[in-house]
Symmetry: C2
Subunit: 407 residues, 2 copies
């Protein structure tokens, strides 16, 4: 089964699998030109405003959060803020107010340009940039879109904006290694060459047909087997808070690829230690419909040692030989044991270091696993027909509202 799906995936020559060999085929020229624009942004701006939603937003945001500092910004990067992923008037108004004394670049990301949320945000920011920068605005707006067609492509052509291409054979949730993800994270200070190196390593490793040699397929097969046993929810769990946005990207990848034909594991996430004191009780003793996938990086760039305290009023001197990350890793083992002991199946994914290389590897790993998993479930991993339903109803209601107001 796995082998035949493997050959099917590797052999698809349709419009959906451009991501499969992308990291292997990515040319230095592309990385250099993205790097150059990122450097230009760092020189001329304090903030990059990224406009996008779904796959045009979650991947970049995930990598940025995972690899830039918790407080303040990366020493090699500018601040990157996102808009067009929600429709809050307060959010856009307050964002505009906050930009007053800062220099800005805009990167608008959309394959078609017709998705309402980012299209409206771009309408606002295009006018804002023209008002602030006049003729110069067009140097400060970078468009990431289709190479041949679409409203956004036409706008970029008409106004002479610089463009990066979203390959037509790569869907949104598989697009993080294209300029969709690469430009924002390069501007944020992340090393995109190492990211692609890691993804390339994964693309080569995970071409292996045999289940026992292919970790992505093993993960896919195990989660599918648990689904078949009646488990309904997969919880992705991490102990490093900077991974929360990576979890959100993972939710889209699996939820949108598998959630169709009334099937699929519901993808949910937990961020420990916080969630041990929130949803932890439910996992340990509640409705036993979930299993847990732990994501762990063995080395984290910064750490802090528990200080010794003469007074020892808190009775914690016994830990003063250890660092927080060491205790955190032990905590992970304790939780995995306790949950597993409570009847929750546990999968553990372990990577050496939280850096761009290993994150590139992991992201590709999840993509490959997801596609195998979806085919095991007998659904098409590359479409998302259900997303149209709300869009159509929303537009119908907006038109009714406007017609009523005109009477």
């Amino acid at each position: 089964m796995v082998a035949s799906i493997h050959h099917y995936i590797e052999g698809i020559e349709d419009e959906q699998t451009g991501w499969l060999n992308l990291p292997i085929e990515t040319e230095d020229d592309l990385l250099n030109s993205i790097g150059n624009v990122a450097n230009e942004i760092k020189c001329n701006a304090d903030i990059l405003v990224v406009i996008g939603i779904g796959g045009s937003f979650l991947g970049a945001r995930a990598i940025q959060d995972a690899l830039t500092p918790y407080f303040g910004q990366h020493q090699n990067g500018v601040e990157v803020v996102y808009v067009g992923q929600n429709m809050s008037g307060a959010y856009i108004q307050q964002l505009l107010n906050s930009l007053k004394f800062k220099d800005i670049y805009v990167n608008v990301i959309s394959k078609s340009g017709t998705t309402l949320e980012p299209a409206l945000a771009f309408r606002v920011f295009r006018q804002y940039m023209e008002k602030r920068y006049g003729e110069q605005a067009k140097e400060r707006i970078i468009v990431t879109t289709d190479s041949k067609k679409g409203l956004l492509r036409n706008i970029a052509q008409n106004s002479g904006y610089r463009q990066f291409v979203i390959p037509s054979n790569i869907g949104g949730r598989f697009s993080v290694f294209t300029p969709v993800g690469l430009l924002p994270i390069a501007a944020a200070g992340v090393d995109i060459n190492h990211l692609i190196e890691g993804a390339k390593k994964a693309a080569i490793h995970l071409k292996e047909e045999k289940l026992e040699m292919n970790e992505a397929y093993r993960y896919a097969v195990i989660r599918h087997a648990l689904y078949k046993q009646g488990y309904q929810i997969e919880l992705l769990a991490s102990f490093e808070p900077s991974l929360a946005r990576l979890h959100e990207w993972w939710k889209q990848l699996f939820g949108e690829s598998e959630g169709k034909d009334k099937k699929g594991l519901f993808p949910a996430t937990v961020n420990y230690s916080t969630d041990l004191h929130a949803i932890g009780q439910f996992i340990q003793e509640g409705n036993p419909i979930l299993f847990e996938t732990f994501l762990h990086f063995k080395e984290i760039i910064d750490d802090y040692r528990v200080p010794f305290d003469n007074r020892n009023e808190d009775q914690l001197n016994f830990l003063s030989n250890l660092s927080f990350n060491e205790i955190n890793a032990t905590s992970k083992e304790g939780v995995a044991f306790a949950h597993s002991n409570g009847g929750v199946p546990v999968i553990q994914l372990e990577l050496q270091r939280l850096d761009s290389y290993h994150l590139g590897y992991l992201i590709y790993f999840f993509m490959k696993a997801c596609v195998m998993s979806a085919y095991l479930l007998e659904v098409n991993p590359f479409d998302q027909p259900g997303v149209e339903a709300y869009k159509n109803k929303m537009l119908e209601l907006l038109n009714t509202k406007l017609a009523t107001e005109q009477i």
Copy 2:
């Protein structure tokens, strides 16, 4: 059934229901003394560092996020940052680095003082404050803890720190209207008098015994009925991104109160529009095990009008009569219709305005509903026996690790 549970809840004279009449009984003296300390913090500090986890953290964070600006901080408040809710060495190291040129107060919140994550963070910050402020440190550390016992209470007594009391008959997830929640959010600039006013209104309204007159009980009964029909997941959905942390508070409230004896609805959350382009596909067409509760505030403080554009290259001029919040509200209607049409039961909770009064009302509403819901499920809403499992295993592993290293 509802009426008899109602009488049971109102009649419990045990150690768990202090929250029930708290908003009605809160005295001005307490609010004034919290307000005074908050003002002192605003005068003498740039940042308040709050140390807490679970119920000692999620409520304050939820209200702060919902009622302070998306970018920058409230004009009447200081910046509030949280620590002790995770065990990341990178987080604590980078937080300390970011504080160098800023003046600080610390508020440590724990009933016992023995929960490992906040206890370790307080050990670090207590030493940090003593090093930076010397004798003055004790003026800058505020302790929120039990009035009679516990490690943290002892530390506060020994060092002469100012103390606020967590009433012994109020559990963590019901404690947001005590100083646990009130001091951090007052420092952040939120009006705590209005918050308590709203909660008081709810406490009076929701004393109504009859199901048809009591909205909290209606919500509890409906979600319980859906659970009995076989639904496994409740998704709390909002269209205002500032409510994301309120969702996290709600997850703890329901997950920890109901997730026991192998029972309970799994509480999950979505933040729209973002999640329409992430998990939206799954909701519309995936495994039909979930229902959705929409949370909507009719008025949001800031808004932005869609600008007219002569070029109309994006074909959106038909919306230029509307504001983002108007479109967002219509979007909510469209999504509710589309999901309901796709077979997902939809509950709608609507409040007039996103402000501290209505948030106080809503939070009390959820608490009261949760307790009714848990009793309908025949579980005890006030305990969390499963949270001990990981703690015990973690301490066992830490002791083993330390013993091994000493050999």
